[in-house]
Amino acid sequence: MTIDNETLLLLNAYHDGELSPVEALSMERRIKAEPELAAFTRQLGELSSGLSEILPGDPASSRLRGSILASITTDLTHDDVSNEPEPEISLQSADPRRAYWGPIAAALAIGLVGGGFAGGYFTHLAQTETRAAAIENEILTAHLRGLIAPQPFDIASSESHVVKPWFNGKTTIAPTTPDFSAQGFPLVGGRVDVIDRKPVPVMIYKRRQHTISVTVTTSSDLALPVQSVIDGTNVTSWTDGNLTYSAVSDLNLGELSSFADLYRKRLAGGG
């Protein structure tokens, strides 16, 4: 009636998707044969879903972001950083220098994202940003429309080798369609959305009850915002070659960015 220590470790690793295929297979057989292992596996599952509700909590406040940017800029203004005493780390700091650098830090950040503020380029930049926002909006709308439909996908399959060829002839983009079941983000299907008047591939993933749409566009020159929240839905974008991937979901930001990291790693040929 007891599970030995070694088995407990293996069950945990099985639950985390960390076993090799061979080990996982033999563990699956054992779980089928021994009801107490099955019961424990179920408990682990319940525990994880309980934890995923309580662990996220509130995100970092915008005040914290602001003061981080401000302190980075302060850091820069010191001539010799290594000989300076540690900067005073306090959010309530009344240092006037910090207050002065704060807005500049914010401007720098915007400059970094946008590319710069020079003459006629600015107009071009503004247009590009508006267009990027419009495209992000279309991606979000398509995701929400998908959620309203009985199924958010046109083809249901967890096989990336089924989903990927399905896009042939329907769009001109051949996306990478990895499956992350082991990490808790199973691929459930694909669909075609029309973004910027062009048909583009969309992969659908699940995380518990949440749906994640990954939309692939060719507009890599547009620099979609890395992360944004629109009416409570999170959008995370990244580029790979000339393709831009946007993951859209009502999933919390932490889990969505770990999904994005997994995806990026896979695109880079790792993971």
Partner: protein, 180 residues
Amino acid sequence: MTTLAKARFAQIVLPRIDEGYRLARWLTGSATDAEDVMQEACIKAFRAIESFAEGNARAWFLTIVRNVAYSWLQRHRPVKLVSLEDLSPDAQQEMETGGLMANAVPTPEDLLLAKQRSTALLGAVETLPLHLRETLVLREFHGLSYREIAAIGDIPIGTVMSRLAKARQSLLLRLKEAER
């Protein structure tokens, strides 16, 4: 130093502030302390950003946050660092003789208890020993692999496995106690 460092900071650190903050929040146990830790960690990350070669940016940043959180705790609350590597023998035994709840059929009462359960779980996570809590949060919230967790804590993978198993057993045990 400046332009490249700023660009890399914006690319590598800024998108991960939330994640870092969650880790700091769980390690220090308070939102205010987490903000202090994050501020210090971000300055550290910024100063080190040019020496960071291509690689796992996420693990790199979380390692900084983790180390800053530990030295912060040592400075401000040395008591918290007392390590409880093992569950008490009583608790161990209780885990082994337990299993009554495992076969229980869910009843409507269970559903009413769900809310209480998550409060109990929250309390249980907060009282986990620091190193178990760290491993648990990196796995269950950040979704990192054992290898990444091992790299961040600078511990062998075997230790990650045993810490995770211990943390989960301890939580399951606390939940059972709460339901009694």
